[in-house]
């Protein structure tokens, strides 16, 4: 234990079981200079403290990779964390057990004098006050906060029920009533908290898994290694002095100086102004700027906390946006329903106190029973709990869900439109040997600008000596600033026949070269297509590639509706054309820049983490990696999600309709109401757990 220490936080991949986590932990603990290492098998997070003089972060990451568990450094999970609801639950459970023991002795009529009886009431009152003061805050605080903002949430009727029961109970220790209801107060809090704890657990799991995936996906950048090769690295691994290539649609993860002659960026994330800004060589580019039109080569000048602000803001916005929409729905529901619940309780109280001449305590208990039993907690949980579970299941499969609405839309999909290259097929470059070395070099320098599958196949593992500044025209190709060009036959006004994909490269001297590709079907394409055809979904291919190439692929996998030579906007028009009747829901699957309009036009869309950043921005689902087969879990999970939301809503509606008249008639005591309400919430939560992929 000597020398300066350092700490490392990261996300661990390939952790399939707790034993793997332990094995990794023990292997890393054996490294020289390691002080303390913990691998959390539940959250897939790694925390390590080490001697900076003996061990380095790079050595640590390398050791983990050798053990078969690549580690991605990630920000420590922190920030304002909502308090753990388990502790209030424990307090409420403790209070409930003790108050119950007093109540049971009083009810059972054990031979006791009035003094003992009074003492028991007093002890119950003290416990109930403590539990309400500590655990009840979970409901009081949000209720008060909303009231101050002039809103009504479901926490208000719950708070009223707790406080009214507590107030009515004090009649007993004061000698004004025969019995107290302290047991009802504490069990109400305890049972309500069970639902809240389950809900919090699911949300935490989902958020944690989403953050882990984001850490792995957000910011894969092309770094120019000193030997000229393009290396795929994560934003977190960038260092000052690195040269990186940021492609159109990507957000710059660091601060840096522009090396390319010029370009355009969108600074809306930093400044809020959405107009594109022109930048020139040697300009400072701030983290959070989005690159437009052409790829920019940037010299990194600042990394880490300061520079990553913009990136973080963008990431969190996606989440807040999603939470925002669900929250708005829940608020709207509560705003209309909560006043009805309170109205029902007042009606119940008035009916019994003024009309039926019940005592104050009895009438209060009727009102409390109505407040509790009609609280639409189950209905409020029905949709969010199910969507959270479905999102969580898909995250575990490696699919990011960008909106809850998308699950609903995909479950009803009647048509799926596929892009071809990069989605159904992978291009493999076949002939490069024919090209003179300097031509091949100029071509990879141009291809490095684009994330198109053909460009990526071209660059592959080869060296990139210098990158030619270029503009990408979606659906056609790249035009370099020096007059060279790389793209489809159409871009050069050529006619090509035969079922082979070919691109063309025009060098700056004007010579034209053919660059042939072989396209191989991705392993899982045929299976995926079969699955959807069996499910009765209509499948289409819309590709910018030549029609005969597209038809060959379509025949091979058995899709009859296939069209080639489709311009980006025409893809979107095709999707609009499909939407004849309201029953037609069109899903679009694609990864290219040229798919972006179609992804936006479709009712629901899927992109890939390896695809272009623009297509990811437009998509509702992002599949991590390139596996098309993950469409199957997306489809199955979204279908079972919709089915279960339907069941949950039906169940909670029936429950509320039945329980209200019973409570008004005085058949339900506050205690029974608490049990009924809690069990309906738990039933809904448990039903949501049935979603599996």
């Amino acid at each position: 234990m000597s020398g300066p220490g350092a700490s490392f936080h990261g996300v661990v991949q390939n952790l399939t079981c707790g034993a793997c986590a332990l094995r990794l932990e023990r292997q890393l603990a054996g490294l020289e200079g390691m002080r303390r290492v913990v691998v959390n098998a539940t959250t897939h997070r790694l925390r390590a403290e080490y001697d900076r003089g003996v061990l380095s972060e790079a050595a640590l990451i390398a050791a983990a990779a050798r053990a078969g568990h690549p580690v991605q450094s990630a920000a420590q999970e922190g920030g304002p964390r909502e308090p753990d609801l388990v502790i209030p639950l424990a307090v409420a459970g403790f209070g409930m057990a003790n108050v119950m023991s007093f109540s049971v002795s009083v009810w059972a009529g054990i031979d006791m004098g009035p003094a003992t009886r009074q003492a028991m009431h007093l002890a119950s009152a003290l416990l109930a006050l403590g539990v309400t003061g500590f655990a009840g805050r979970v409901f009081f605080e949000p209720a008060l906060r909303d009231l101050r903002r002039g809103r009504v949430s479901m926490d208000l009727p719950i708070s009223l029920a707790i406080l009214a029961t507590l107030a009515a109970s004090f009649l007993a220790p004061l000698g004004l009533a025969e019995e107290g209801y302290f047991d009802a107060v504490v069990s109400l809090i305890f049972l309500l908290l069970i639902g809240r704890v389950l809900d919090q657990k699911v949300r935490r799991q989902t958020l944690g898994a989403a953050r882990n995936l984001q850490a792995l996906v957000v910011g894969r950048f092309a770094r120019l290694a000193p030997d000229g090769r393009l290396v795929d690295v994560s934003a977190a691994d960038l260092q000052c002095g690195d040269r990186i290539l940021v492609r159109p649609g990507q957000t710059v993860p660091v601060d840096g100086r522009l090396r390319s002659p010029g370009g355009r960026i969108d600074r809306s994330l930093i400044t809020g102004e959405s107009d594109a800004v022109a930048v020139a060589a040697d300009d400072l580019i701030l983290a959070g700027s989005k690159v437009l039109q052409r790829a920019l080569e940037i010299n990194v000048t600042a990394v880490g906390e300061a520079a990553s602000v913009g990136q973080m803001a963008q990431m969190m916005r996606v989440f807040e946006d999603r939470k925002g929409r669900a929250q708005i729905l829940a608020d709207r529901f509560a705003a209309t329903y909560a006043p009805m619940v309170i109205g029902g309780a007042i009606f119940g109280f008035a009916l019994w106190f003024f009309v039926l001449d019940a005592s104050l305590a009895e009438a209060t208990m009727i009102a409390v029973a109505v407040l509790v039993v009609t609280c639409p907690c189950a209905a409020g949980l029905a949709t969010p709990a199910t969507v959270a579970r479905a999102t969580n299941q898909l995250l575990n499969q490696g699919v990011l869900v960008r909106s809850g609405r998308a699950l609903e839309a995909f479950s009803r999909a009647s048509h799926i439109v596929f892009d071809k290259t990069g989605t159904l097929t992978r291009p493999v470059q076949t002939v490069r040997r024919g090209l003179p070395t300097d031509v091949a070099r100029a071509m990879t320098g141009l291809a490095a600008n684009s994330a198109h599958p053909l460009s990526r196949a071209l660059v592959g593992e080869t060296r990139v000596d210098s990158i030619t500044p270029a503009m990408e025209k979606p659906g056609e190709g790249l035009r370099g600033a020096d007059g060279s060009a790389l793209g489809s036959a159409e871009m050069f006004g050529l006619q090509v026949t035969g079922p082979v994909t070919a691109s063309f490269f025009k060098s700056k001297s004007g010579d034209l070269y053919e660059v042939p590709f072989k396209e191989v079907l991705s392993n899982d394409t045929t299976d995926t297509v079969c699955h959807f055809q069996r499910a009765g979904v209509h499948l289409h291919i819309q590709s910018g590639d030549r029609d005969d190439v597209v038809q060959t692929i379509a025949d091979e996998i058995g899709i009859t509706s296939a069209q080639g030579n489709v311009k980006p906007v025409a893809k979107a028009d095709f999707i609009d054309g499909l939407r004849g009747s309201p029953d037609t829901i069109v899903a679009m699957v694609g990864d290219g820049v040229n798919d972006a309009p179609a992804l936006t036009a479709a009712d629901v869309s899927v992109s890939f983490s390896d695809g272009s950043a623009i297509s990811q921005d437009a998509a509702d689902f992002i599949i991590i990696g390139e596996s098309l087969a993950k469409l199957i879990p997306i489809f199955e999970v979204s279908r079972s999600c919709r089915r279960i939301i339907g069941q949950n809503l039906a169940f909670s509606t029936i429950y509320n309709l039945l329980s209200l008249p019973l409570a008004l008639c005085g058949f339900i005591t506050p205690f029974a109401a608490a049990i009924l309400m809690a069990s309906s919430s738990i039933a809904v939560m448990l039903n949501a757990q049935r979603i599996r992929s």
Partner: protein, 48 residues
Amino acid sequence: MNALLILVPVSILSGICGVLIFAWLTRDGQLSDPEGNKYRIFEPDELE
């Protein structure tokens, strides 16, 4: 009934101690990895 005057406060106090210990364990993060902890009881060579 005099026994109750001692036993009831004692039981409640010991219960409060239990709740406090649980709260401390939760905040300390000792209960944050149920998946890993079930394997932590094994020796390295028993993990297979």
